[in-house]
Protein backbone atom coordinates (compact mmCIF):
# COMPACT_ATOMS: atom_id res chain seq x y z
CA UNK A 1 0.00 0.00 0.00
CA UNK A 2 2.83 2.40 0.91
CA UNK A 3 4.56 1.41 -2.31
CA UNK A 4 1.44 2.12 -4.33
CA UNK A 5 0.94 5.49 -2.66
CA UNK A 6 4.56 6.49 -3.26
CA UNK A 7 4.41 5.47 -6.92
CA UNK A 8 1.10 7.20 -7.45
CA UNK A 9 2.35 10.37 -5.74
CA UNK A 10 5.55 10.41 -7.77
CA UNK A 11 3.48 10.14 -10.96
CA UNK A 12 1.23 13.01 -9.85
CA UNK A 13 4.17 15.27 -9.04
CA UNK A 14 5.83 14.46 -12.37
CA UNK A 15 2.66 15.33 -14.25
CA UNK A 16 2.27 18.66 -12.46
CA UNK A 17 5.89 19.59 -13.10
CA UNK A 18 5.70 18.56 -16.76
CA UNK A 19 2.51 20.54 -17.43
CA UNK A 20 3.68 23.65 -15.61
CA UNK A 21 7.02 23.53 -17.44
CA UNK A 22 5.29 23.12 -20.79
CA UNK A 23 3.17 26.23 -20.25
CA UNK A 24 6.11 28.14 -18.77
CA UNK A 25 8.29 27.32 -21.76
CA UNK A 26 5.57 28.05 -24.34
CA UNK A 27 4.88 31.43 -22.78
CA UNK A 28 8.57 32.29 -23.04
CA UNK A 29 8.92 31.18 -26.63
CA UNK A 30 6.54 33.93 -27.69
CA UNK A 31 8.70 36.31 -29.71
CA UNK A 32 7.56 39.57 -28.08
CA UNK A 33 9.07 40.30 -24.69
CA UNK A 34 6.65 41.13 -21.88
CA UNK A 35 8.79 44.24 -21.40
CA UNK A 36 6.87 45.84 -24.27
CA UNK A 37 3.60 45.20 -22.42
CA UNK A 38 4.82 47.15 -19.43
CA UNK A 39 7.04 49.78 -21.04
CA UNK A 40 4.98 50.35 -24.17
CA UNK A 41 5.52 49.15 -27.72
CA UNK A 42 8.07 51.87 -28.54
CA UNK A 43 10.43 51.11 -25.64
CA UNK A 44 14.15 51.31 -26.46
CA UNK A 45 16.54 48.36 -26.49
CA UNK A 46 18.36 49.48 -23.33
CA UNK A 47 15.12 49.84 -21.38
CA UNK A 48 13.93 46.43 -22.48
CA UNK A 49 17.26 44.86 -21.56
CA UNK A 50 17.16 46.51 -18.13
CA UNK A 51 13.59 45.29 -17.57
CA UNK A 52 14.48 41.75 -18.60
CA UNK A 53 17.52 41.77 -16.32
CA UNK A 54 15.42 43.03 -13.39
CA UNK A 55 12.90 40.18 -13.70
CA UNK A 56 15.48 37.58 -14.73
CA UNK A 57 13.92 37.14 -18.18
CA UNK A 58 17.39 37.07 -19.77
CA UNK A 59 18.40 33.93 -17.89
CA UNK A 60 18.23 30.40 -19.34
CA UNK A 61 14.75 28.89 -19.47
CA UNK A 62 15.43 26.12 -16.97
CA UNK A 63 16.96 28.53 -14.46
CA UNK A 64 13.92 30.81 -14.75
CA UNK A 65 11.60 27.88 -14.26
CA UNK A 66 13.60 26.64 -11.28
CA UNK A 67 13.42 30.02 -9.55
CA UNK A 68 9.70 30.32 -10.27
CA UNK A 69 8.67 26.86 -9.06
CA UNK A 70 10.93 27.22 -6.02
CA UNK A 71 9.15 30.45 -5.10
CA UNK A 72 5.76 28.82 -5.60
CA UNK A 73 6.55 25.79 -3.45
CA UNK A 74 8.40 27.49 -0.61
CA UNK A 75 6.71 30.89 -0.35
CA UNK A 76 3.45 30.60 -2.33
CA UNK A 77 5.01 33.29 -4.52
CA UNK A 78 3.95 33.20 -8.17
CA UNK A 79 5.70 36.43 -9.09
CA UNK A 80 4.09 39.68 -10.14
CA UNK A 81 1.56 40.25 -12.91
CA UNK A 82 3.11 42.37 -15.66
CA UNK A 83 -0.31 43.70 -16.53
CA UNK A 84 -1.88 44.70 -13.22
CA UNK A 85 1.33 44.96 -11.18
CA UNK A 86 -0.25 42.96 -8.35
CA UNK A 87 1.30 39.88 -6.78
CA UNK A 88 -0.25 36.83 -8.43
CA UNK A 89 -0.59 34.96 -5.14
CA UNK A 90 -3.19 37.57 -4.08
CA UNK A 91 -5.04 37.02 -7.32
CA UNK A 92 -4.99 33.24 -6.84
CA UNK A 93 -6.08 33.50 -3.21
CA UNK A 94 -9.02 35.66 -4.23
CA UNK A 95 -10.24 33.70 -7.22
CA UNK A 96 -9.49 30.05 -6.42
CA UNK A 97 -12.04 29.70 -3.55
CA UNK A 98 -14.76 31.06 -5.84
CA UNK A 99 -14.13 28.40 -8.48
CA UNK A 100 -13.74 25.64 -5.89
CA UNK A 101 -17.08 26.59 -4.34
CA UNK A 102 -18.74 26.66 -7.76
CA UNK A 103 -17.39 23.23 -8.68
CA UNK A 104 -18.12 21.57 -5.35
CA UNK A 105 -21.65 22.99 -5.27
CA UNK A 106 -22.19 21.77 -8.83
CA UNK A 107 -20.96 18.30 -7.91
CA UNK A 108 -23.25 18.16 -4.87
CA UNK A 109 -26.18 19.18 -7.07
CA UNK A 110 -25.12 16.67 -9.71
CA UNK A 111 -24.92 13.76 -7.23
CA UNK A 112 -28.14 14.78 -5.51
CA UNK A 113 -29.97 14.41 -8.82
CA UNK A 114 -28.08 11.65 -10.58
CA UNK A 115 -27.73 9.02 -7.85
CA UNK A 116 -31.43 8.78 -6.92
CA UNK A 117 -32.34 8.94 -10.61
CA UNK A 118 -29.88 6.21 -11.55
CA UNK A 119 -30.79 3.97 -8.63
CA UNK A 120 -34.53 4.24 -9.19
CA UNK A 121 -34.23 3.55 -12.90
CA UNK A 122 -32.06 0.51 -12.19
CA UNK A 123 -34.51 -0.87 -9.63
CA UNK A 124 -37.47 -0.21 -11.88
CA UNK A 125 -35.80 -1.03 -15.15
CA UNK A 126 -38.19 -0.45 -18.03
CA UNK A 127 -40.43 1.75 -15.89
CA UNK A 128 -41.33 5.38 -16.32
CA UNK A 129 -38.27 6.79 -14.53
CA UNK A 130 -36.01 4.54 -16.58
CA UNK A 131 -37.43 5.79 -19.87
CA UNK A 132 -37.37 9.39 -18.69
CA UNK A 133 -33.73 8.96 -17.69
CA UNK A 134 -32.77 7.76 -21.15
CA UNK A 135 -34.30 10.81 -22.79
CA UNK A 136 -32.97 13.24 -20.20
CA UNK A 137 -29.45 11.80 -20.28
CA UNK A 138 -29.16 12.08 -24.06
CA UNK A 139 -30.37 15.68 -23.86
CA UNK A 140 -28.02 16.33 -20.95
CA UNK A 141 -24.87 15.26 -22.76
CA UNK A 142 -25.96 17.07 -25.92
CA UNK A 143 -26.72 20.50 -24.49
CA UNK A 144 -23.81 22.91 -24.28
CA UNK A 145 -23.80 24.26 -20.70
CA UNK A 146 -22.97 27.79 -21.74
CA UNK A 147 -25.91 27.95 -24.14
CA UNK A 148 -28.23 26.53 -21.50
CA UNK A 149 -26.91 29.33 -19.30
CA UNK A 150 -27.86 31.96 -21.88
CA UNK A 151 -31.32 30.49 -22.32
CA UNK A 152 -31.93 30.20 -18.57
CA UNK A 153 -30.77 33.79 -18.04
CA UNK A 154 -33.23 34.80 -20.75
CA UNK A 155 -36.12 32.83 -19.24
CA UNK A 156 -35.56 32.97 -15.48
CA UNK A 157 -33.73 36.26 -15.09
CA UNK A 158 -34.76 38.59 -17.88
CA UNK A 159 -38.34 37.38 -18.43
CA UNK A 160 -39.35 36.05 -15.01
CA UNK A 161 -36.93 37.97 -12.82
CA UNK A 162 -36.58 35.06 -10.37
CA UNK A 163 -32.83 34.57 -10.37
CA UNK A 164 -29.92 36.98 -10.85
CA UNK A 165 -28.46 36.84 -14.39
CA UNK A 166 -24.88 36.81 -13.24
CA UNK A 167 -22.26 38.22 -10.88
CA UNK A 168 -21.60 36.45 -7.63
CA UNK A 169 -22.02 38.61 -4.51
CA UNK A 170 -19.57 37.76 -1.73
CA UNK A 171 -20.97 35.52 1.01
CA UNK A 172 -20.11 38.30 3.48
CA UNK A 173 -22.68 40.53 1.77
CA UNK A 174 -25.44 38.07 2.60
CA UNK A 175 -25.63 34.32 2.25
CA UNK A 176 -29.06 34.41 0.59
CA UNK A 177 -28.15 36.42 -2.52
CA UNK A 178 -24.88 34.49 -2.76
CA UNK A 179 -26.62 31.12 -2.90
CA UNK A 180 -29.32 32.43 -5.21
CA UNK A 181 -26.66 33.59 -7.66
CA UNK A 182 -25.01 30.15 -7.55
CA UNK A 183 -28.11 28.22 -8.66
CA UNK A 184 -27.98 28.88 -12.41
CA UNK A 185 -24.22 28.50 -12.93
CA UNK A 186 -24.16 25.32 -10.85
CA UNK A 187 -27.03 23.85 -12.80
CA UNK A 188 -25.36 24.61 -16.13
CA UNK A 189 -22.05 23.20 -14.97
CA UNK A 190 -23.70 20.11 -13.48
CA UNK A 191 -26.03 19.08 -16.28
CA UNK A 192 -23.48 17.23 -18.44
CA UNK A 193 -22.09 15.20 -15.56
CA UNK A 194 -25.57 14.62 -14.13
CA UNK A 195 -26.43 12.87 -17.37
CA UNK A 196 -23.22 10.83 -17.36
CA UNK A 197 -23.27 9.89 -13.68
CA UNK A 198 -26.94 8.92 -13.61
CA UNK A 199 -26.35 6.57 -16.53
CA UNK A 200 -23.31 5.11 -14.82
CA UNK A 201 -25.16 4.68 -11.54
CA UNK A 202 -27.87 2.83 -13.40
CA UNK A 203 -25.54 0.41 -15.14
CA UNK A 204 -23.40 -0.10 -12.07
CA UNK A 205 -26.40 -0.91 -9.86
CA UNK A 206 -27.86 -3.13 -12.60
CA UNK A 207 -24.65 -5.11 -12.68
CA UNK A 208 -24.70 -5.70 -8.93
CA UNK A 209 -28.39 -6.58 -9.11
CA UNK A 210 -27.58 -9.78 -10.99
CA UNK A 211 -24.70 -10.93 -8.81
CA UNK A 212 -24.88 -14.30 -7.10
CA UNK A 213 -24.64 -12.88 -3.60
CA UNK A 214 -27.77 -10.84 -4.18
CA UNK A 215 -29.63 -13.94 -5.34
CA UNK A 216 -28.39 -15.73 -2.22
CA UNK A 217 -29.64 -12.89 -0.04
CA UNK A 218 -33.04 -13.06 -1.72
CA UNK A 219 -33.14 -16.84 -1.25
CA UNK A 220 -32.33 -16.39 2.41
CA UNK A 221 -35.47 -14.32 2.75
CA UNK A 222 -33.87 -10.98 3.62
CA UNK A 223 -36.20 -8.06 3.15
CA UNK A 224 -36.13 -6.27 -0.20
CA UNK A 225 -35.30 -2.93 1.39
CA UNK A 226 -32.41 -4.37 3.36
CA UNK A 227 -30.94 -6.08 0.31
CA UNK A 228 -31.26 -2.95 -1.76
CA UNK A 229 -29.95 -0.49 0.78
CA UNK A 230 -27.11 -2.53 2.22
CA UNK A 231 -26.03 -5.17 -0.26
CA UNK A 232 -26.69 -3.52 -3.57
CA UNK A 233 -26.10 0.16 -3.05
CA UNK A 234 -22.92 -0.26 -1.05
CA UNK A 235 -21.27 -2.11 -3.91
CA UNK A 236 -23.09 -0.44 -6.76
CA UNK A 237 -22.06 3.06 -5.78
CA UNK A 238 -18.33 2.45 -5.35
CA UNK A 239 -17.41 3.18 -8.98
CA UNK A 240 -19.41 6.41 -8.81
CA UNK A 241 -16.98 7.89 -6.29
CA UNK A 242 -14.04 7.89 -8.66
CA UNK A 243 -16.17 9.07 -11.55
CA UNK A 244 -17.43 11.97 -9.43
CA UNK A 245 -13.91 12.98 -8.42
CA UNK A 246 -12.69 12.89 -12.00
CA UNK A 247 -15.73 14.85 -13.17
CA UNK A 248 -14.85 17.55 -10.63
CA UNK A 249 -11.49 17.81 -12.35
CA UNK A 250 -13.01 18.10 -15.81
CA UNK A 251 -15.40 20.77 -14.53
CA UNK A 252 -12.46 23.19 -14.30
CA UNK A 253 -12.35 23.23 -18.08
CA UNK A 254 -16.08 23.88 -18.50
CA UNK A 255 -15.97 26.44 -15.67
CA UNK A 256 -13.91 28.66 -17.98
CA UNK A 257 -16.96 29.09 -20.20
CA UNK A 258 -19.56 29.10 -17.42
CA UNK A 259 -17.71 31.74 -15.37
CA UNK A 260 -17.57 33.84 -18.51
CA UNK A 261 -21.32 33.53 -19.13
CA UNK A 262 -22.31 34.34 -15.56
CA UNK A 263 -19.51 36.82 -14.90
CA UNK A 264 -18.21 34.91 -11.89
CA UNK A 265 -14.86 36.13 -10.53
CA UNK A 266 -13.20 32.71 -10.30
CA UNK A 267 -9.77 31.50 -11.31
CA UNK A 268 -11.03 30.16 -14.63
CA UNK A 269 -12.27 33.58 -15.68
CA UNK A 270 -8.98 35.04 -14.46
CA UNK A 271 -7.18 32.54 -16.70
CA UNK A 272 -9.20 33.59 -19.72
CA UNK A 273 -8.70 37.29 -18.95
CA UNK A 274 -4.96 36.65 -18.56
CA UNK A 275 -4.86 34.96 -21.96
CA UNK A 276 -6.45 37.92 -23.69
CA UNK A 277 -4.31 40.45 -21.76
CA UNK A 278 -1.17 38.38 -22.57
CA UNK A 279 -0.52 38.28 -18.82
CA UNK A 280 1.61 35.14 -19.03
CA UNK A 281 2.67 35.16 -15.38
CA UNK A 282 -0.93 35.00 -14.22
CA UNK A 283 -1.75 32.47 -16.92
CA UNK A 284 0.98 30.00 -15.95
CA UNK A 285 -0.01 30.36 -12.29
CA UNK A 286 -3.67 29.63 -13.08
CA UNK A 287 -2.77 26.60 -15.20
CA UNK A 288 -0.49 25.30 -12.44
CA UNK A 289 -3.17 25.69 -9.77
CA UNK A 290 -5.87 24.06 -11.92
CA UNK A 291 -3.58 21.18 -12.89
CA UNK A 292 -2.69 20.68 -9.25
CA UNK A 293 -6.37 20.52 -8.29
CA UNK A 294 -7.09 18.13 -11.17
CA UNK A 295 -4.22 15.79 -10.32
CA UNK A 296 -5.11 15.88 -6.62
CA UNK A 297 -8.72 14.95 -7.38
CA UNK A 298 -7.58 12.03 -9.53
CA UNK A 299 -5.25 10.93 -6.78
CA UNK A 300 -8.02 11.05 -4.17
CA UNK A 301 -10.33 9.18 -6.53
CA UNK A 302 -7.80 6.40 -6.87
CA UNK A 303 -7.18 6.16 -3.12
CA UNK A 304 -10.88 6.38 -2.27
CA UNK A 305 -11.74 3.66 -4.74
CA UNK A 306 -9.16 1.31 -3.30
CA UNK A 307 -10.09 2.07 0.31
CA UNK A 308 -13.76 1.35 -0.33
CA UNK A 309 -13.22 -1.61 -2.57
CA UNK A 310 -11.02 -4.16 -0.80
CA UNK A 311 -11.14 -6.45 -3.84
CA UNK A 312 -8.76 -4.17 -5.72
CA UNK A 313 -5.21 -4.83 -4.65
CA UNK A 314 -2.89 -1.99 -3.70
Amino acid sequence: MIGFLAKRLAFAVTVVIAVSFLIFAMARLVPTSPAYLVLGADAGHAEVAAFEAKYGLDRPLLAQYGTWIHGVVTRFDFGVSFVSGRPISTEVAETLPVTLELILASMVLCLAISIPLGVISAFQSGGFVDHALRVVSVLGVSTPGFWLGLVLILLLSVKAGWLPPGDLPRPSDGVGPHLLALILPCFCLAIYYTAIISRMTRSSVMEVLHQDYVRTAVAMGLSKTKIRMIYILRNGLIPIISVAAMSCGYMFGWAIVIEQVFNIPGICRALLAAIFARDYNLMQAAVLVITLAFVLLNFLADIGYRLLNPRVSW
Binding site: A18, I23, V138, P144, W147, F252, Q260, V287
Partner: protein
Protein backbone atom coordinates in the same frame (compact mmCIF):
# COMPACT_ATOMS: atom_id res chain seq x y z
CA UNK B 1 -31.61 10.65 -39.35
CA UNK B 2 -30.72 13.89 -37.58
CA UNK B 3 -27.10 13.50 -38.56
CA UNK B 4 -28.14 12.92 -42.16
CA UNK B 5 -30.24 16.08 -42.27
CA UNK B 6 -27.50 18.22 -40.75
CA UNK B 7 -24.83 16.73 -43.01
CA UNK B 8 -27.01 17.26 -46.08
CA UNK B 9 -27.69 20.88 -45.14
CA UNK B 10 -24.01 21.48 -44.53
CA UNK B 11 -22.98 19.93 -47.83
CA UNK B 12 -25.70 21.65 -49.83
CA UNK B 13 -25.26 25.08 -48.23
CA UNK B 14 -23.74 26.67 -51.35
CA UNK B 15 -26.64 25.63 -53.59
CA UNK B 16 -29.53 26.07 -51.17
CA UNK B 17 -31.78 29.05 -51.84
CA UNK B 18 -30.65 30.87 -48.71
CA UNK B 19 -29.23 34.32 -48.14
CA UNK B 20 -25.54 35.12 -48.01
CA UNK B 21 -24.47 34.48 -44.39
CA UNK B 22 -22.07 37.42 -44.51
CA UNK B 23 -24.34 39.93 -46.28
CA UNK B 24 -24.90 42.94 -44.04
CA UNK B 25 -28.33 44.54 -44.07
CA UNK B 26 -28.23 47.31 -41.54
CA UNK B 27 -31.78 48.34 -42.36
CA UNK B 28 -33.04 45.03 -40.93
CA UNK B 29 -30.90 44.67 -37.81
CA UNK B 30 -32.23 42.24 -35.22
CA UNK B 31 -35.43 41.59 -37.17
CA UNK B 32 -37.74 39.12 -35.41
CA UNK B 33 -38.38 35.74 -37.04
CA UNK B 34 -40.96 36.13 -39.79
CA UNK B 35 -41.74 35.37 -43.41
CA UNK B 36 -38.81 37.43 -44.65
CA UNK B 37 -36.20 35.97 -42.34
CA UNK B 38 -37.45 32.62 -41.00
CA UNK B 39 -35.28 32.73 -37.90
CA UNK B 40 -34.75 36.49 -37.78
CA UNK B 41 -31.56 38.48 -38.29
CA UNK B 42 -28.62 39.31 -36.04
CA UNK B 43 -27.06 42.60 -34.95
CA UNK B 44 -25.67 43.26 -38.42
CA UNK B 45 -28.82 42.27 -40.27
CA UNK B 46 -27.41 38.90 -41.32
CA UNK B 47 -29.88 36.05 -41.75
CA UNK B 48 -29.74 33.70 -38.73
CA UNK B 49 -30.99 30.63 -40.60
CA UNK B 50 -28.39 30.92 -43.32
CA UNK B 51 -25.65 31.56 -40.74
CA UNK B 52 -26.70 28.44 -38.84
CA UNK B 53 -26.54 26.35 -42.01
CA UNK B 54 -23.18 27.78 -43.04
CA UNK B 55 -22.01 27.49 -39.43
CA UNK B 56 -22.78 23.77 -39.51
CA UNK B 57 -20.06 23.40 -42.16
CA UNK B 58 -17.46 24.87 -39.82
CA UNK B 59 -18.62 22.88 -36.82
CA UNK B 60 -18.87 19.54 -38.63
CA UNK B 61 -15.60 20.06 -40.49
CA UNK B 62 -13.70 20.84 -37.31
CA UNK B 63 -15.38 18.14 -35.22
CA UNK B 64 -14.98 15.40 -37.82
CA UNK B 65 -11.36 16.26 -38.60
CA UNK B 66 -10.52 16.42 -34.89
CA UNK B 67 -12.02 12.99 -34.26
CA UNK B 68 -10.30 11.55 -37.33
CA UNK B 69 -6.99 12.95 -36.14
CA UNK B 70 -7.61 11.50 -32.68
CA UNK B 71 -8.40 8.12 -34.27
CA UNK B 72 -5.31 8.25 -36.45
CA UNK B 73 -2.93 8.88 -33.56
CA UNK B 74 -4.85 6.97 -30.90
CA UNK B 75 -5.59 3.84 -32.90
CA UNK B 76 -2.12 3.59 -34.42
CA UNK B 77 -0.39 3.95 -31.07
CA UNK B 78 -2.94 1.79 -29.27
CA UNK B 79 -2.67 -1.08 -31.75
CA UNK B 80 1.11 -1.03 -31.71
CA UNK B 81 1.18 -0.96 -27.91
CA UNK B 82 -1.30 -3.82 -27.73
CA UNK B 83 0.60 -5.96 -30.20
CA UNK B 84 4.01 -5.27 -28.73
CA UNK B 85 2.74 -6.53 -25.39
CA UNK B 86 5.52 -6.57 -22.80
CA UNK B 87 7.93 -4.38 -24.73
CA UNK B 88 9.36 -1.01 -23.78
CA UNK B 89 7.36 0.53 -26.62
CA UNK B 90 4.15 -0.64 -24.97
CA UNK B 91 5.19 0.88 -21.68
CA UNK B 92 6.09 4.22 -23.25
CA UNK B 93 2.82 4.46 -25.18
CA UNK B 94 0.55 3.43 -22.33
CA UNK B 95 2.39 5.80 -19.99
CA UNK B 96 1.82 8.62 -22.46
CA UNK B 97 -1.89 7.81 -22.45
CA UNK B 98 -1.85 7.82 -18.64
CA UNK B 99 -0.21 11.23 -18.56
CA UNK B 100 -2.66 12.68 -21.09
CA UNK B 101 -5.51 11.28 -19.03
CA UNK B 102 -4.30 12.90 -15.85
CA UNK B 103 -4.03 16.48 -17.04
CA UNK B 104 -6.89 18.94 -17.57
CA UNK B 105 -6.63 18.88 -21.36
CA UNK B 106 -9.33 21.45 -22.01
CA UNK B 107 -7.61 23.96 -19.74
CA UNK B 108 -4.26 23.21 -21.32
CA UNK B 109 -5.72 23.52 -24.82
CA UNK B 110 -7.20 26.89 -23.94
CA UNK B 111 -3.89 28.11 -22.54
CA UNK B 112 -2.00 26.90 -25.61
CA UNK B 113 -4.53 28.51 -27.94
CA UNK B 114 -4.09 31.69 -25.93
CA UNK B 115 -0.31 31.62 -26.26
CA UNK B 116 -0.44 30.84 -29.97
CA UNK B 117 -2.99 33.59 -30.45
CA UNK B 118 -6.33 33.28 -32.17
CA UNK B 119 -5.04 34.63 -35.47
CA UNK B 120 -3.05 32.44 -37.89
CA UNK B 121 0.55 31.92 -36.79
CA UNK B 122 3.54 30.60 -38.66
CA UNK B 123 5.65 27.90 -37.07
CA UNK B 124 8.59 26.31 -38.90
CA UNK B 125 7.21 27.42 -42.24
CA UNK B 126 3.71 26.03 -41.65
CA UNK B 127 0.84 28.43 -41.34
CA UNK B 128 -1.47 27.36 -38.56
CA UNK B 129 -4.91 28.81 -39.11
CA UNK B 130 -7.44 29.06 -36.33
CA UNK B 131 -9.16 25.94 -37.62
CA UNK B 132 -6.01 23.81 -37.78
CA UNK B 133 -5.12 24.76 -34.20
CA UNK B 134 -8.60 23.79 -33.03
CA UNK B 135 -8.53 20.48 -34.87
CA UNK B 136 -5.06 19.67 -33.52
CA UNK B 137 -5.84 20.41 -29.90
CA UNK B 138 -9.28 18.79 -29.82
CA UNK B 139 -7.93 15.80 -31.71
CA UNK B 140 -5.05 15.43 -29.29
CA UNK B 141 -7.42 15.42 -26.35
CA UNK B 142 -9.34 12.47 -27.84
CA UNK B 143 -6.20 10.47 -28.57
CA UNK B 144 -5.73 8.72 -25.20
CA UNK B 145 -9.34 7.51 -24.92
CA UNK B 146 -9.44 6.15 -28.47
CA UNK B 147 -5.96 4.74 -28.00
CA UNK B 148 -6.93 2.77 -24.94
CA UNK B 149 -9.86 1.20 -26.75
CA UNK B 150 -7.64 0.11 -29.65
CA UNK B 151 -5.03 -1.08 -27.16
CA UNK B 152 -7.57 -3.23 -25.32
CA UNK B 153 -8.74 -4.97 -28.47
CA UNK B 154 -5.21 -5.42 -29.81
CA UNK B 155 -4.18 -7.08 -26.54
CA UNK B 156 -6.88 -9.69 -27.02
CA UNK B 157 -6.53 -10.15 -30.77
CA UNK B 158 -2.74 -10.43 -30.72
CA UNK B 159 -3.09 -13.75 -28.90
CA UNK B 160 -5.78 -15.09 -31.24
CA UNK B 161 -5.02 -18.12 -33.40
CA UNK B 162 -5.53 -16.36 -36.71
CA UNK B 163 -2.84 -13.81 -35.86
CA UNK B 164 -0.43 -16.48 -34.72
CA UNK B 165 -1.10 -18.45 -37.89
CA UNK B 166 -0.28 -15.41 -40.02
CA UNK B 167 2.80 -14.81 -37.97
CA UNK B 168 3.93 -18.39 -38.52
CA UNK B 169 3.55 -17.77 -42.24
CA UNK B 170 6.13 -15.04 -41.91
CA UNK B 171 4.01 -11.89 -41.85
CA UNK B 172 5.79 -8.81 -40.46
CA UNK B 173 4.41 -6.99 -37.44
CA UNK B 174 3.23 -4.02 -39.50
CA UNK B 175 1.09 -6.33 -41.63
CA UNK B 176 -0.17 -8.17 -38.57
CA UNK B 177 -1.14 -5.00 -36.75
CA UNK B 178 -2.71 -3.04 -39.57
CA UNK B 179 -4.12 -5.78 -41.82
CA UNK B 180 -5.08 -8.50 -39.34
CA UNK B 181 -5.74 -6.85 -35.99
CA UNK B 182 -6.98 -3.42 -37.08
CA UNK B 183 -10.31 -4.56 -38.63
CA UNK B 184 -11.26 -6.23 -35.36
CA UNK B 185 -10.64 -3.07 -33.36
CA UNK B 186 -12.74 -0.94 -35.71
CA UNK B 187 -16.23 -1.54 -34.26
CA UNK B 188 -15.54 -0.32 -30.74
CA UNK B 189 -13.45 2.58 -32.01
CA UNK B 190 -16.24 3.69 -34.35
CA UNK B 191 -18.80 3.72 -31.55
CA UNK B 192 -16.58 5.87 -29.35
CA UNK B 193 -15.55 8.11 -32.25
CA UNK B 194 -19.18 8.82 -33.13
CA UNK B 195 -19.89 9.84 -29.55
CA UNK B 196 -16.77 12.03 -29.58
CA UNK B 197 -18.00 13.94 -32.63
CA UNK B 198 -20.77 15.29 -30.40
CA UNK B 199 -18.28 16.25 -27.71
CA UNK B 200 -16.03 17.91 -30.29
CA UNK B 201 -18.92 20.02 -31.56
CA UNK B 202 -19.62 21.27 -28.04
CA UNK B 203 -15.93 21.92 -27.32
CA UNK B 204 -15.52 23.82 -30.59
CA UNK B 205 -18.61 25.91 -29.87
CA UNK B 206 -17.37 26.64 -26.34
CA UNK B 207 -13.93 27.71 -27.54
CA UNK B 208 -15.39 29.87 -30.29
CA UNK B 209 -17.80 31.32 -27.75
CA UNK B 210 -14.99 32.60 -25.52
CA UNK B 211 -13.13 33.92 -28.55
CA UNK B 212 -10.40 31.29 -28.92
CA UNK B 213 -11.90 29.24 -31.72
CA UNK B 214 -13.23 30.14 -35.14
CA UNK B 215 -12.72 33.84 -35.73
CA UNK B 216 -15.45 36.23 -36.91
CA UNK B 217 -16.91 37.02 -39.39
CA UNK B 218 -16.88 33.29 -40.35
CA UNK B 219 -20.24 32.01 -39.12
CA UNK B 220 -19.85 29.28 -36.51
CA UNK B 221 -22.33 28.25 -33.86
CA UNK B 222 -20.03 29.33 -31.07
CA UNK B 223 -19.27 32.80 -32.44
CA UNK B 224 -22.97 33.36 -33.18
CA UNK B 225 -23.73 32.68 -29.52
CA UNK B 226 -20.91 34.96 -28.42
CA UNK B 227 -22.52 37.80 -30.39
CA UNK B 228 -25.96 36.86 -29.12
CA UNK B 229 -24.84 37.19 -25.52
CA UNK B 230 -25.21 40.96 -25.73
CA UNK B 231 -28.81 40.80 -26.88
CA UNK B 232 -30.47 38.48 -24.40
CA UNK B 233 -31.19 41.37 -22.06
CA UNK B 234 -32.88 43.46 -24.70
CA UNK B 235 -35.35 40.78 -25.79
CA UNK B 236 -33.85 39.60 -29.11
CA UNK B 237 -34.08 35.97 -28.03
CA UNK B 238 -33.83 34.41 -31.48
CA UNK B 239 -30.14 35.23 -31.98
CA UNK B 240 -29.30 33.20 -28.86
CA UNK B 241 -31.83 30.39 -29.03
CA UNK B 242 -31.56 29.03 -32.58
CA UNK B 243 -27.81 28.43 -32.93
CA UNK B 244 -27.90 26.55 -29.61
CA UNK B 245 -30.82 24.44 -30.76
CA UNK B 246 -28.80 23.58 -33.85
CA UNK B 247 -25.92 22.41 -31.65
CA UNK B 248 -28.25 20.35 -29.44
CA UNK B 249 -29.99 18.71 -32.39
CA UNK B 250 -26.71 17.80 -34.08
CA UNK B 251 -25.10 16.46 -30.92
CA UNK B 252 -28.24 14.49 -30.02
CA UNK B 253 -28.02 13.07 -33.53
CA UNK B 254 -24.44 11.89 -33.09
CA UNK B 255 -25.21 10.47 -29.64
CA UNK B 256 -28.17 8.48 -30.95
CA UNK B 257 -26.09 7.32 -33.90
CA UNK B 258 -23.37 6.21 -31.49
CA UNK B 259 -25.89 4.30 -29.37
CA UNK B 260 -27.37 2.66 -32.45
CA UNK B 261 -23.93 1.68 -33.74
CA UNK B 262 -23.12 0.19 -30.35
CA UNK B 263 -26.19 -2.00 -30.52
CA UNK B 264 -25.27 -3.00 -34.03
CA UNK B 265 -21.52 -3.50 -33.79
CA UNK B 266 -20.87 -4.06 -30.14
CA UNK B 267 -24.00 -5.72 -28.77
CA UNK B 268 -22.53 -6.60 -25.40
CA UNK B 269 -22.41 -2.88 -24.71
CA UNK B 270 -25.99 -2.65 -23.47
CA UNK B 271 -29.66 -2.98 -24.16
CA UNK B 272 -31.21 -2.07 -27.51
CA UNK B 273 -31.76 1.63 -27.86
CA UNK B 274 -35.37 2.65 -28.30
CA UNK B 275 -34.58 6.06 -29.70
CA UNK B 276 -33.68 5.60 -33.31
Amino acid sequence: MLVGVVAALALLAPILPIRDPLALDLGHRLAAPGAHHLLGTDQAGRDVLSRIIWGSRESLQIALSAVLLGCLFGVTLGLIAGYKNGSILEMVITRCFDVLFSIPLLVLAIALLGILGARPVEILGFTLTDKIKLVGLIGLSFTPALGRIAYASALVEAKADYVRAKKAQGAGWIELVFVEIFPNAVPSVIVQATLFVGVAIIVEASLSFVGLGVQPPTPSWGTMLADARNYIFSGEWWVAVFPGLAICATVVGFNLLGDALRDLLDPRGGAKSTFV
